[in-house]
Amino acid sequence: MTKPLRIGLFVIAFPRASETFIVTKVLKLLDQGFDVQIFALSAQADWESFAVLEGRQDIRDRVHVAPARSLRGALQFAGTAARSPTALARLATHRWRHRRDNPSGVVAPLYEQVMFAGCELDILHIEFDYQGINVADLKDYLSCRLLLSSRGVFQRSSTYSAKARDYLFRYVDGYHFISQALDDNAHRLGLPADVPCWRVEPATDLSLFEPEPRALRSGPVRIVSIGRLVWSKGYEFAVDAAAQLRARGIAFTYEIYGEGPYEQAIRFGIREHHLEGVVRIVRPRPRHEIPAILASADIMLHAAIDEGFSNAVIEAQAMELPVVTTDAGGLPENVEDGVTGYVVPRRDPVALAERLAVLAGDPALRQRFGTAGRARALARFDLERQAEAFVELYRDLASRPRRSAR
């Protein structure tokens, strides 16, 4: 029997309520006989959100947390130093050799990365590629393959310099993208052609999003948006579209569930259009209430200027809700235009309003799109299936040679 593949997952914290997919994947990997170790930057975990992890001491033992900058963290560091002085010395040598790779120098990264001392891995998977900008070179210390996941933030944020990108592209052995749009853009940004790439789309736990038959009801069409009130979600254009919709004489309500720094801009738009009472901003609801909110709506509107993929849109389709969205980022791959919803150009309130009007006036069409949306979610965005795709991905990557960093 061959040795089990050793996978290291580098995450912000584990487990996190917002990252159910990582928990599902870990369970699946263990189930399939992989050796999984989890490296977390912070101890801020949500164990109580996961009933499935209750009593799983074996999983807790697989989580390694970077030492905090506190007395306790220092003791943790000293403990590693006492237990495995050679491994630590080797890590320190590695950090010294790569001192130019890391803007924070030698000591701070060594402290943070002490959890890797003496580890042996086949694959180090950095779940959010931007988290790799201090860590990627560790693949040489670990003699493993480096897998990065691109979920959007890194490519579009100007916080990260071209230098940081080149550093990642130099060390990476394989790149996972949640959308074709991110894959294309990464190559535009200089990702070498010899880096193998995989596309595994986001997924959600569909058992939490079971639609019930929608009762026929009269009254205004109910439009809903769910997502933080930030610039990238394009809510100003969504409010402009609502104004157009009203000008067409369509009876509707529009509820935006979220909070965030862009709230004032959105409220100003609502007031300027005199849409108070029609468009409402509602405090975000806990996750378990989302299915009911989606169930009582007729259309989801997602007017993003910039988006990775959008789980909110996946969940809407799972709940048989037709979606009107823009072509930002991975959204055209998420929604099938003319089948589960409509995809229109971003920053175009008139186009949004036109599509909203079509759906608002045609309950049968909404139902047809809804049914197709559920089918699409089942076929493409199922959490179990996603975990299986990762199992395949890891096996594939492990069978390929390591790239040598240049």
């Binding site: 720094p261 100003f268 738009g269 300027e272 200027i305 920053r347 309130p349």
Partner: protein
């Protein structure tokens, strides 16, 4: 003597009438700027030493007044600089938002106050919390004079507190004599050079501007646009420039030195102000002084600064297509650009001079001081 209180004095270096003695009161406590906090602490100790009785009664007022009772200690500290100070004849709050932070000043000093209403403070009034709204209303009612930067702002003030005497419309001004206009002698050719200046915040609606520019580009109209300014939306707007394929056509250099702004204005053919919300834009007035035509949304006091088809073009706010059409119109008609630019310069010379603004301030201060009990 005039005491002026404002948070960011450097932002509004409005000229003062000569012959006035002016004292700029220390701003509110701000722990992020230690020097300010230190100055504040020194002033506080002195106040307490000199006027212990006044401080004690001020504290009682802070606890009793509904507008200050939730944070009596903080409000006490805030009001202390007004306690043991040489008596001013007028206290001028440079922003309604600042004035609202000192609801007890009138009772404490008995000195008549003036408050300036400049734009967001009034336009966003309904979006504020109840407490801040109440403080703003008291500040407006307590003031002996309310300075509004436009007729539109004055109308809104009257909508909030009803008609009252002592509302002064004093529009912003530019130092026209010190600003050399651009020359229109040689007809402008090549890509239309568009410039805009402003903080990169949602108020200025540069998202809409970029969406409009992408439509202009799709029409095949050649242009080169520069947006001068810094702010929280710099990174998102740069993202949008790339996302819309406008690299090389739209420049976002971030913060620029104030003196280089004039050079950049003179280098342009048209100034665009796509804002959701404005009082009267000083940036637009400067552009007009440079003899640039202005395309502006017809928000706030902007229609009082330029007339449609005379000094520039007015478009509805939030109207991407309308803004794009206006830009295309001027790109196609350079002689009209020149005519409007020259008209803009004349308009500013005639109606937005410093002399007029200073004289109106002087009248306002004198009238307030005269009417004081």
């Amino acid at each position: 003597m005039l005491a002026r209180q404002d948070g960011d004095w450097a932002l509004f270096p409005e000229p003062l009438p000569p012959g006035l003695e002016v004292e700029i009161l220390p701003p509110d406590i701000d722990l992020r700027t230690p020097s300010r906090t230190l100055a504040m602490a020194r002033g506080t100790l002195r106040s307490v030493a000199r006027a212990r009785g006044a401080v004690a009664s001020l504290y009682r007022d802070c606890r009793a007044d509904p507008l200050t009772a939730d944070e009596p200690a903080r409000n006490l500290l805030r009001h202390l600089p007004f306690c043991a100070r040489r008596r001013a004849d007028v206290i001028h709050f440079e922003f309604l938002g600042t004035g609202a932070m000192y609801p007890l000043v009138k009772k404490l000093t008995g000195v008549p106050t003036v408050v300036s209403c400049r734009g967001s403070d009034i336009h966003l009034f309904e979006l504020r919390g109840d407490q801040l709204q109440a403080s703003m209303l008291r500040c407006l009612r307590d003031a002996a004079a309310v300075h509004c930067v436009s007729r539109e702002i004055a109308d809104n003030v009257e909508r909030l507190i009803g008609p009252r005497p002592g509302i002064w419309i004093n529009r912003p001004a530019v130092d026209v004599a010190a600003i050399e206009p651009r020359s229109w002698d040689a007809p402008s050719k090549g890509p239309l050079k568009i410039v805009s200046v402003g903080r990169l915040s949602w108020h200025k609606a540069f998202d809409y501007f970029l969406a409009a520019l992408s439509r202009v580009a799709r029409q095949g109209v050649e242009f080169e646009a520069t947006i001068l300014g810094d702010g929280e939306l710099l990174a998102p707007l740069r993202f949008s420039v790339a996302d819309l394929g406008l690299e090389g056509k739209v420049h976002l250099p971030g913060a620029v030195k104030p003196d280089s702004v004039l050079d950049r204005l003179r280098d342009a053919d048209v100034f665009v102000l796509p804002s959701h919300n404005e009082g009267v834009s000083n940036a637009a007035l400067e552009a007009m002084a440079c003899a640039l035509p202005v395309i502006s949304t017809c928000v706030g006091g902007m229609p009082e600064a330029l007339r449609e088809g005379v000094e520039g073009l007015l478009v509805p706010p939030r109207d991407i297509e309308g803004l794009a059409t206006a830009i295309c119109q001027l790109a196609m008609d350079r002689p009209r650009c020149a005519a409007m630019g020259l008209a803009a310069r004349r308009r500013v010379e005639a109606e937005f001079s410093l002399e007029r603004q200073v004289a109106t301030f002087e009248d306002m201060y004198q009238s307030v001081a005269r009417s004081a009990p």
